[in-house]
C-alpha cells in the first residue's frame, strides 16, 4: 500500500495533462473528471492482478505504473510552472510516441493541427476549436493553462476557441485576411532567482509576398502585430505582457498605452499595433520580450478594416436573432414573473392591472433614448442598449461586454431585441426626453408621459399597446390600418347590427339577470377558456371578419391576445354574438384578466363573476365602453394614423381600432353610409346596444338581422356606431375607462344624436340619446382633454382624432364642441337621466384613473355606468 499512498500523494499534484499522459501510457481511457482520472490510476495500482480492468495489460506491473507516475511528477517539479505549461508541446511527447488504446478525442486523419507550440504532430490530448469554420486542433498541454500552475488542474473548458478565433472576436472591426505569422508562444529566457517575473520573449521571421504588399497598398488593409494571454479570463481580447518591448525589423513599436508595469484589468483591453510602416517585401523580423510569468503568444496578421456600418450589417435583423415570443417571454418574466393573465380571478386581475412597471428606454451608453434596441442574446435581463452607439463605441474600446451585466461576449452574440425594438421604432418621432414606458406583466405597454405637452407629442403612443405593437401599427401603415379599420368597421357594423338586436336583448338580460345570464355555454367557455378560448370563439364564429387583424394578433400573443383578441373580438363580436360579448370582455380585460370576464362574454359570465358581476355587468358596459373605446381609438386612428392606435394598446387599441374603423367608416364611408337610412338606423340602434356591453349580447340577435345589411349596412351601422361609439370612446378615453363607460352610456344617447342614433332615439329616449350625444361630444372634447388629464394615450390620440373625425361627422363635431370633458361629462351626465349616476361614476372613475390604473377602476365605474346604461336601454327599449 506504500506504493499506492506514495502515488496518491503525487497524483494530487498532477494536472489533467499529466494524468492524461499517464493514462495514455497505460492505454486507458482519459475521459472523465480529474478525480476520475486519478481514481483510475489508483485503481490500477491497488487492484489485484487479474481483475478485468487490468486484465489486458498484465504485462505492465504495478511498479511500472508507479514509476510512470514518479517520472511524470519529477518532470513537473523540474520544469516548473511556467515552463511546464509551455513545455506542453514537448510534454505531449510521451503520448505522441505510443499508444492507441481508447483516447477520448482521437484526432481525425484530416485533423488540422495548429498549435502555438509550433508542433504539427497529433497527440492524444488534443482539443478542438469551437468555431465552426475553424476546427483547428491544439495540444491541450499547450493551450490549456491553469492560472496557478501548481495548484489547480486546468479545467478543460466546455467551449474552447483557438487564439485565431479569439482574436477575430476580440475586434471584429479587423478582419483577418492572412496570417504571415501564426501565433507562437513566448518562452522564458531566464528565470530570476529572486522570484520576480521572468523575462520571456520570442523572435520570429515572417514573410510578406508581393501579393500581400499589393494588398497593403489599399487603404483599408494593414499589417497588425497581436499578442494574447493564453489563459486570459477575458476570452476575446488582446493582451500584451508587462513591460512589452516589440520590435519589427529592428525598429521599436509601441505595443501598449498603459505603463509597462501596469497589469491589464478585467475591464481593460489592449490593442494590436499596426506595423504596416515597418514591414517590407520578403522576410521581416519581429521580436517581443516582456517581464511576465504568464504565457503569451505573438502573431502577425494582415487585416482589413471594417466600418461601423459593416459591423451593423453583421448583426441579425429584427426577428432573425430572436423570436418575438422569446423576447416577450423575457419581458413577461422580468416584469411580472410570469403570465399574470393566466389568473382568471377578477380581483387578482385588478391587482395585476395596477401592476405596470416603468422601463426606461435610455441607452446606458449614450444616455439618449435607444433608436435600435440591441442586446446580447444570452443575457436574461431586460436592459438593452442602443445598437449603433454600442458598435460605434466599440470600434475603439473593443469591449464586447454587456453594459448592464458586464458579461463578456462577442459580436456574434448581439441581436436586436424584437420587443423593445418595436417600441423604440414607434417612438422614433417622439421628443428626445420622453424615454419611459410602462409595461404590464403581459407585455402590453404605453409611453409614460408626465405632462400634457408630452401626451400631445406621443399621441396614441400614450395608450396601451399590445406587446407586438408593431403588428397593428407600424407595419400596417395607414393603408393597412385603414384596411383593418374597414374590416373592423364592417365587423363592428355587423356586430353592432348583431349587437343591436343582441345588445338589447342582452341589456335587458343584464338589467334583470345579467349575472345569471344568459349563456351558460358561453360562460362556460369563457370560464374555461381565457383569452385563448375567446380567440377560439372568435375564430370559430368571427374568424372570417376578424381573422385578419385579430386573428393574427391572437395567434401571436396569448396574453396580449387577450387584449387584441378583445378588441378584435369586438369587431368580431359584432359578427358573432358570443364572440362579441367575449370581445368586449376581452377589451375590458385587456390589461388583465378581464379577459375572463370577456369569456363571460356572454353577459352572463360577467354576471357570474361575483364582484365583477356588477362590475362585470358594468364591464359589459365596459365592453360597450370598449366598443366606445374602439370608437375613440378609431377616432384617434384617423388623425394620428390609424395604424398607430392599433398597435398601441391591445385593448384600447383594438377598441381604438374598431372605433377608428368606425370613424374611418364615418369619415370615409361613414358619411355616405349615413345616407343608408334603414340599415343605418338599425345599425345605430345596434350600435347603441353595442355600446353597451350587454348590448353586445343583445346585438347578437340583432346582429343577424343587421348582418344582411352588413355589407352596406355594416359600413353604415358601423359608422353610426362609430359615431356613437366614437363619442363614447372619446369620453371614455379621456376619462379613461370610466369615461369610456360613461361614453358607453352616452353612446346610446349619442347614437340617438347621430342620424342613426336619432332613429334610435325614437326607440329609446330620443332626447336622452341626443343628450347623450351631447355628452358624448362633450366627452369627446373631454376625451381630448381627458387625454391631457389622464394621459391616456387613447384619450389623447382619440381626442385629437375625435376632434378631427368629429368634424367630418357633423353630429359628432357638434358634440365635441360641447363642453370640456369633465364639464361636458357632468353636463352630459346631467342631461342623461342616467347621466347623473354616470357623472358621478365618471368623476370618480376619472379621478381613480388619474390616480393609477384607470382600467381597473374604470371597470367598477363602468359597471355602474353600464347599469345605468342598462336601465337607460331598458327605457329606450
Amino acid at each position: 500500500m506504500d506504493l499506492v499512498a506514495g502515488c496518491k500523494d503525487k497524483l494530487a499534484y498532477f494536472r489533467i495533462k499529466e494524468l492524461k499522459d499517464v493514462l495514455t501510457h497505460l492505454g486507458l481511457s482519459k475521459q472523465g473528471k480529474k478525480q476520475d482520472l486519478v481514481d483510475r490510476i489508483l485503481a490500477i495500482l491497488s487492484e489485484e492482478p487479474g481483475s478485468k480492468l487490468w486484465a489486458k495489460k498484465t504485462a505492465i506491473a504495478k511498479e511500472e505504473v508507479a514509476k510512470l507516475v514518479d517520472d511524470t511528477y519529477r518532470k513537473m517539479q523540474v520544469s516548473g510552472a511556467t515552463d511546464l505549461a509551455s513545455r506542453g508541446q514537448g510534454a505531449s511527447d510521451c503520448s505522441n510516441s505510443k499508444c492507441n488504446g481508447e483516447m477520448d478525442d482521437p484526432p481525425h486523419s484530416d485533423t488540422k493541427v495548429r498549435c502555438p507550440c509550433g508542433s504539427p504532430l497529433e497527440t492524444e490530448s488534443m482539443i478542438k476549436c469551437e468555431d465552426l469554420k475553424c476546427h483547428v486542433w491544439q495540444h491541450i498541454g499547450c493551450v490549456i493553462i491553469s492560472e496557478k500552475p501548481m495548484e489547480g488542474i486546468p479545467q478543460v473548458p466546455d467551449v474552447f476557441y483557438c487564439e485565431i478565433c479569439r482574436l477575430s472576436r476580440a475586434d471584429p472591426f479587423w478582419v483577418s485576411v492572412a496570417h504571415p505569422l501564426y501565433p507562437v508562444k513566448l518562452l522564458a529566457t531566464n528565470v530570476p532567482a529572486d522570484g520576480s517575473s521572468p523575462v520571456q520573449g520570442v523572435e520570429k521571421a515572417f514573410q510578406l509576398t508581393r501579393a500581400d504588399k499589393d494588398l497593403l497598398a489599399k487603404q483599408e488593409y494593414d499589417v497588425q502585430a497581436w499578442c494574447m494571454l493564453l489563459n486570459d479570463k477575458v476570452l476575446f481580447r488582446m493582451q500584451w505582457p508587462q513591460h512589452a518591448d516589440l520590435q519589427v525589423n529592428g525598429l521599436a513599436v509601441r505595443a501598449i498605452n498603459r505603463p509597462g508595469s501596469q497589469l491589464l484589468g478585467a475591464n481593460g483591453r489592449d490593442d494590436g499595433p499596426i506595423i504596416t510602416p515597418f514591414v517590407r517585401d520578403g522576410i521581416n523580423k519581429i521580436s517581443l520580450s516582456g517581464c511576465d510569468a504568464r504565457i503569451f503568444c505573438l502573431g502577425v496578421r494582415i487585416v482589413k478594416r471594417r466600418t461601423v456600418q459593416q459591423i451593423l450589417n453583421l448583426i441579425p435583423k429584427d426577428l432573425e436573432g430572436e423570436r418575438f415570443e422569446d423576447a416577450l417571454a423575457r419581458v413577461c418574466r422580468c416584469v411580472g414573473g410570469g403570465t399574470a393573465t393566466d389568473n382568471a380571478d377578477s380581483d387578482s386581475d385588478l391587482e395585476v392591472v395596477a401592476d405596470s412597471f416603468c422601463v426606461n428606454l435610455r441607452c446606458p451608453m449614450s444616455g439618449s433614448r435607444m433608436k435600435v434596441a440591441g442586446r446580447f442574446k444570452p443575457c436574461a435581463h431586460l436592459g438593452c442598449f442602443d445598437l449603433e452607439v454600442f458598435v460605434e463605441l466599440n470600434q475603439r474600446s473593443k469591449k464586447w461586454q454587456c453594459p448592464i451585466c458586464l458579461k463578456n461576449y462577442s459580436l456574434e452574440n448581439i441581436i436586436t431585441d424584437p420587443y423593445f425594438n418595436r417600441i423604440t421604432s414607434k417612438m422614433r418621432h417622439c421628443s428626445e426626453d420622453i424615454t419611459e414606458i410602462e409595461v404590464k406583466p403581459d407585455g402590453s405597454w404605453r409611453v409614460k408621459t408626465k405632462t400634457e405637452a408630452e401626451r400631445r407629442d406621443v399621441g396614441e403612443l400614450a395608450q396601451w399597446h399590445n406587446p407586438d405593437s408593431t403588428h397593428c401599427v407600424s407595419d400596417g401603415g395607414e393603408i393597412k390600418s385603414k384596411v383593418e379599420t374597414v374590416k373592423q368597421i364592417r365587423q363592428e357594423g355587423i356586430s353592432e347590427g348583431n349587437a343591436g338586436a343582441g345588445l338589447k336583448l342582452g341589456i335587458r338580460k343584464n338589467r334583470n339577470g345579467f349575472w345569471e345570464v344568459s349563456k351558460p355555454e358561453d360562460v362556460n367557455t369563457f370560464s374555461s377558456g381565457r383569452l385563448q378560448e375567446n380567440f377560439e370563439h372568435h375564430e370559430q364564429k368571427v374568424i372570417p371578419m376578424s381573422s385578419s387583424a385579430t386573428g393574427s394578433r391572437d395567434g401571436e400573443d396569448q396574453s396580449v391576445n387577450q387584449d387584441a383578441g378583445g378588441n378584435y373580438d369586438f369587431t368580431n363580436g359584432g359578427m358573432e354574438l358570443d364572440s362579441l360579448s367575449l370581445n368586449v370582455y376581452s377589451t375590458y380585460g385587456f390589461t388583465d384578466q378581464n379577459l375572463d370576464v370577456p369569456l363571460g362574454n356572454a353577459e352572463i359570465i360577467v354576471l357570474s363573476d361575483s364582484d365583477d358581476d356588477n362590475d362585470i355587468l358594468i364591464s359589459n358596459g365596459s365592453v360597450y365602453k370598449s366598443n366606445q373605446n374602439d370608437g375613440s381609438a378609431t377616432f384617434s386612428v384617423p388623425s394620428p394614423g390609424i395604424a398607430d392606435p392599433f398597435p398601441e394598446d391591445p385593448t384600447l387599441v383594438t377598441g381604438g381600432n374598431s372605433c377608428l374603423g368606425l370613424f374611418n367608416a364615418n369619415d370615409e364611408y361613414g358619411m355616405p353610409l349615413w345616407s343608408l337610412p334603414s340599415g343605418n338606423q338599425a345599425g345605430p340602434g345596434f350600435q347603441l346596444f353595442n355600446s353597451d356591453v350587454s348590448g353586445a349580447l343583445v346585438d347578437l340577435p340583432h346582429g343577424p338581422v343587421n348582418c344582411p345589411l352588413s355589407m352596406n349596412g355594416y359600413t353604415l351601422p358601423p359608422e353610426t356606431v362609430m359615431g356613437s361609439t366614437c363619442l363614447i370612446p372619446d369620453s371614455s378615453i379621456g376619462r379613461s375607462d370610466m369615461d369610456v363607460n360613461d361614453g358607453l352610456v352616452d353612446n346610446p344617447l349619442a347614437f340617438g344624436g347621430d342620424p342613426s342614433l336619432q332613429i334610435f332615439l325614437p326607440t329609446g329616449p330620443s332626447d336622452a340619446s341626443m343628450h347623450s350625444d351631447m355628452r358624448d361630444q362633450v366627452d369627446v372634447s373631454n376625451g381630448v382633454r381627458s387625454e391631457d388629464w389622464i394621459s391616456l394615450r387613447l384619450g389623447g390620440s382619440a381626442a385629437s382624432n375625435h376632434g378631427d373625425l368629429v368634424p367630418p361627422t357633423n353630429g359628432l363635431n357638434s358634440r365635441e364642441q360641447m363642453p370640456s370633458r369633465e364639464d361636458g361629462v357632468d353636463s352630459l351626465a346631467g342631461t342623461a337621466s342616467l347621466l347623473p349616476g354616470m357623472n358621478d361614476g365618471r368623476t370618480e372613475k376619472a379621478s381613480r384613473q388619474r390616480s393609477d390604473s384607470p382600467f381597473s377602476f374604470p371597470r367598477q365605474k363602468r359597471s355602474v355606468r353600464s347599469r345605468f346604461y342598462l336601465s337607460i336601454d331598458s327605457d329606450s327599449e
Partner: protein
C-alpha cells in the same frame, strides 16, 4: 490640485460629450441626495460636494470629489478622487485615491456620475472606523508624481465597507 492622468486631458469624444451633457441635465433635475455639483464651465472635470450622511461617522462633514472624464467616457471609467482633505476611511488614501472596484475593473458604461457618487457615499456610510488604509504611506509614496489611481492595480479584498 491633483494632476490628472494623460488620458483625461484629451478632449471628450462626441459621444462622451453628449452623454455628459445628459448626465448633467439629469443631475440638475434630479440631484442625488447629499451631493452638490459645483458649477463650472468644464464638462470634463466635475467637482462634487459630498455631505456625510446623517447617522454615520461622517455626518455633516463635507468633502469634495473630483471627477475627471476620459476621452472615451463612458466606455472608460471616470477618474474619481477626493480633493484634499480626503475623508479618513479604510479604503481612501490620504492622497484622495479611492479603492472602489466600480471605479476600475467593475466600471460599467451603464453607470453614471450619480450612481458612482451614491456608491462612494455608501462606502463612507458603512465605514466602521475613521482610519487610513494599512498601506497608505507606501501607496501614497508610490503615487507621488500625481499618478492616476487608474494606473494602480487595485485589489478589492473587502466587500464589507
Amino acid at each position: 490640485m491633483t494632476s490628472s492622468s494623460a488620458a483625461t486631458r484629451k478632449a471628450l469624444s462626441k459621444i462622451a460629450c453628449n452623454r455628459l451633457q445628459k448626465e448633467l441635465v439629469e443631475w440638475q433635475v434630479n440631484p442625488p441626495t447629499g451631493f452638490k455639483h459645483k458649477v463650472t464651465d468644464n464638462l470634463q472635470r466635475w467637482v462634487i460636494e459630498v455631505i456625510g450622511a446623517p447617522g454615520t461617522l461622517y455626518a455633516n462633514e463635507i468633502y469634495q470629489l473630483q471627477v475627471d472624464f476620459p476621452e472615451h467616457y463612458p466606455m472608460e471609467a471616470p477618474q474619481v478622487i477626493f480633493l484634499h482633505p480626503a475623508p479618513l476611511h479604510p479604503h481612501i488614501y490620504s492622497n484622495g485615491h479611492i479603492c472602489l472596484d466600480i471605479l476600475y475593473d467593475s466600471w460599467s458604461p451603464a453607470m453614471t456620475v450619480s450612481s458612482v457618487c451614491i456608491s462612494i457615499l455608501s462606502m463612507l456610510s458603512s465605514s466602521p472606523a475613521k482610519q487610513r488604509p494599512e498601506d497608505n504611506d507606501r501607496y501614497v509614496k508610490n503615487c507621488r508624481n500625481g499618478r492616476s489611481p487608474k494606473e494602480t492595480r487595485w485589489w478589492f479584498h473587502d466587500d464589507k465597507v
